[in-house]
Amino acid sequence: MAVNAGFTGRTYPPTSPYSVGREKIREFAEAVGAVDVVHIDPAAARARGYRDVIAPPTFAVLIAQKCDRQFIVDPEAGIDYSRLVHGEQRFVHHRPITAGDEIVGVLTVDSVKSAGGNSMVTTRSELSTIGGEPVCTATSTVVIRGGE
């Protein structure tokens, strides 16, 4: 089943806030082998001008995927999750994600294309603090392979 093209341009309401914690940043940094002390040592992070420890560049995917889930699990979207493959991911950081941030995401479905039985969906998550400060724009493209 092809993904419902009628979702193109749809924007979802803001997600509930994601609380960025020091220990989650440390855990993620260790998992991707990011050794910069700015992820684990608040004093070192402050010495570089940050408010607290900051997250590695791809940490934002944790929050972006929370945004994407709203669309992916929507039965009317027609997405078979078991056939979904991540095709591309991009992040534009307006400033580093920092421990203590409360981040909400607004998801927009930028495009839905179908070709050769496969569907390609591009979504954009605008992440900002609950105070409205822009933090990151995350763009994701997934491919949903067609059934046999």
């Binding site: 260790e30 082998g33 590695p56 560049p57 995927q65 078991s82 591309e88």
Partner: protein, 149 residues
């Protein structure tokens, strides 16, 4: 700001960077344990990344690394080079080929990068990453933008 609070000056200066400059290459060794650790940290619990039987049942040769794991580890080449991870302001990649991670021996991913643009006005440099596993290019259009001192 007192002197002790000055940001550290280990960040590359725009005058240190030129187009064509190669970033130090590194080998990223990936084991099953690396994928389990990333599964926990990222909350991406897709069975393709840790369940061999499941991966084979959908036609893969073995479990594969999360594309985001490969992307997340490869960018360390850029952040370590620039001297502060917070200076990586843009980063993106296409997942062109899966990294297959066998139980025995794991997999080795080679990551390096080259500077493709420097803008002295904005102090921004663009780095194109080359990320391979064996003869496969596993990330495509892998580009990071950094802000230099």
């Amino acid at each position: 700001m007192s002197k002790s609070e000055q940001p550290s000056n280990s960040v590359l200066s725009v005058t240190d960077v030129e187009v064509g400059q190669q970033l130090p290459a590194r080998t990223i060794h990936i084991e099953r344990a690396s994928l389990v650790q990333y599964t926990g940290a990222s909350l991406d619990r897709n069975r393709l990344h840790w369940d061999e039987r499941f991966a084979r049942s959908v036609g893969l040769p073995d479990v594969i690394a999360h594309g985001m794991f490969t992307m997340g580890t490869a960018v360390n080449v850029v952040s370590d080079w620039v001297g502060d991870t917070g200076r990586v302001v843009e980063y993106g990649a296409r997942f062109t080929k899966p990294v297959v991670v066998p139980y025995e021996g794991g997999a080795d991913v080679e990551a390096t990068g080259v500077v493709t643009a420097v803008d002295a006005q904005t102090r921004r440099a663009t780095v194109e990453l080359k990320v391979t596993c064996g003869s496969d290019k596993v990330l495509g259009r892998a580009v990071a933008v950094v802000v230099l001192d």
